[in-house]
Symmetry: C2
DNA sequence: ATTAGCACTCACAACCCAAGAGTGCTAAAA
DNA sequence: TTTTAGCACTCTTGGGTTGTGAGTGCTAAT
């Protein structure tokens, strides 16, 4: 099962050539471009072996080989050599973090944009799950007659808000309610906050119960929606550049899955992440629509919780580069979100 | 130039048939399906006239006719009959407005989703421009050590926020600053607020000047970003369903234009909207990438300002239906955003 | 003014053919 | 025993040809 050195070299050459050209690669090409000092015939023998081991596929009886999913797997696990970002690329991304750090959400959005522009793939960021974040602050503010603004600030600086209906009340009165909320809900995780609000609701029979009910409802909806809400994507059009997707049907399903956000579940549910930038290749993905694609994603810390940042592209993806760029973004995010 | 009754009938038939099938339509089909009591030969003569007038095109010398941009134009202006939404369709959309009206932004997002699911086109909503909105409220709130949360509520209930760095200060002190801001900036439009903040900045030399500078900067960025920020889209994948876009290249450019939001400028810049749901067809669009598409969009009021809601699809679009559904959404939005 | 009839055009699909790339196998060479 | 040269074979790809069908424009009859 283990690959001897020459088989490894050949497999590596095939993967990298195929990634570059998109075409099946033949014995001649391997011999010529990646001079191993042996003839095409020898390479053909090795290729036949590699195919038998399940690392290569043949699109049809008589044309070059293409890496199989398992082939890509051993490539990323054992064969590939780390890539380095070019000076200007890293500078480009760094500049992004230097300038506008208005708030967490736009930082994440900008990161996605940079990521999708720097690659030919689809980039995504998945914000932290609310379950584990805690509250720095919660406010109820007068917004207009009959309406109040509920503002919730999480420990990581993500701000959520909603307008709720309130009976007419004075500024002082609202401040009083706001204080009740703050006192009871401060520094709890969303889970806790939620049950606490319910308890508060049962006890409180005054005219404020209506308000608290609305707050509770909003908290519920925050947890429910968090999946879809905190996902940002960019570079959808990039996918259409890939030669393998000249045929619309293959992207179609993916785009739909992406739009309704079911893509995320794939990533979150999938086997626990082992390597740092985690890589899932083709069939390894749980979701059907993504079985033609690969995903490279990493994790960044955000307060108590964690977010994900990743790239989605064809299996024929430049893995070393994807890994390098994701690593870099992870670092930048961790650094700038730490303070 | 004016169309006699029969020419009108024929043009209408051709447009509607072509919208349904996507294929060029011939004289026989018109005669058979839309029984006008005349023979195909007669229809052929009329079609030749219509072509000469510029309302029809021939893909090639000897196949059926296809409506030209001008053909579609007279169709939407004079020929088409209003469509009505089916009971369940309108119910579907209405239910959306009934349930969750947490805040304006998510209402708009949901509307887009519903719109793109109800049609085969790409749906978009363009939020109100900030220039003309005024402020209901502005708050500076303690968020965590060294950071404060700036919350701005516009008259229409759109909430913006950002975190800014502040020197350590007591709760009372911050409330004082918050009051300064409120006093000076209340109920002004963003334009006014902005210059006012600058004035304030020049005068204020105390330790708060740093804060005010940050507020001013945020206000600037709000106006600048407003274009890209307040655009929501859904149903990109729908476009790939259209038979005319089996060829990737045609959608490619559009998708890119869409992603970076230059599509909006097209709509905003374009000639002043005359009809209620405005319709721009193919070449009528200012932006090159959209010249193969049609856009149907309407306006909804939001406080002092206005937003746009629309559909983007192939020229071969079901215009009556698009108009009907946009109208309906306009109504719903106006009704629910009025309070 | 309308229609039937007919010759003509053109896209499209099917088919064949040749070229080219690449393979697997066998037998010779190292 | 491993490597290599040689060769027959396979399969894709692109170009060219052909036939079919849909649809037209025109002319002559109604």
């Amino acid at each position: 099962m283990a690959l001897d050195k020459r088989k490894a070299q050949i497999l590596k050459a095939i993967v990298e050539d195929h990634v570059k050209t998109g075409l099946p690669v033949g014995s001649r090409a391997v011999a010529r471009k990646y001079r191993l000092g042996v003839s095409p015939a020898t390479i053909r023998n090795e290729m036949a072996d590699l195919e038998e081991m399940g690392y290569l596929d043949k699109p049809h009886t008589s044309s070059g080989r293409v890496p199989s999913d398992r082939g890509y797997r051993v490539y990323v696990d054992e064969l590939m050599t780390d890539a380095k970002l070019s000076r200007q690329e890293s500078a480009m991304i760094e500049s992004l973090f230097r300038s506008k750090i208005r708030d967490v959400v736009s930082l994440l959005k900008e990161t996605v944009r940079a990521l999708s522009e720097a690659t030919d793939y689809l980039a995504f960021v998945l914000g932290p799950e609310y379950e584990t974040t805690t509250f720095e602050a919660i406010y109820l503010l007068p917004a207009s007659v009959g309406r109040a603004l509920l503002v919730i600030v999480s420990d990581v600086g993500v701000v959520e808000n909603c307008l709720i209906d309130v009976p007419p009340m004075s500024r002082e009165e609202m401040e009083y309610v706001s204080n009740i909320l703050r006192e009871h809900l401060y520094n709890l995780s969303l889970d806790q906050v939620h049950s606490k609000a319910q308890a508060l609701l049962r006890r409180e029979t005054s005219r404020y119960s209506e308000i608290i009910a609305q707050v509770a409802e909003f908290l519920t909806s925050m947890t429910e929606d968090s999946e879809t809400e905190k996902l940002f994507m960019g570079g959808t059009a990039n996918l259409l550049n890939q030669p393998e997707f000249r045929d619309v049907n293959r992207v179609q399903g993916l785009l739909e899955a992406i739009e309704n956000g079911s893509l995320i579940r794939n990533i979150v549910i999938t086997q626990s992440q082992t390597t740092d930038p985690a890589i899932t290749i083709g069939q390894e993905n749980e979701v059907d629509k993504v079985k033609d694609f690969s995903i490279v994603y990493g994790t960044f810390r955000l307060g108590q919780s964690a977010g994900r940042i990743g790239l989605l592209g064809p299996k024929r993806m430049n893995y070393p580069r994807a890994v390098a760029i994701i690593r870099f973004c992870e670092q930048m995010l961790n650094k700038h979100l730490a303070r």
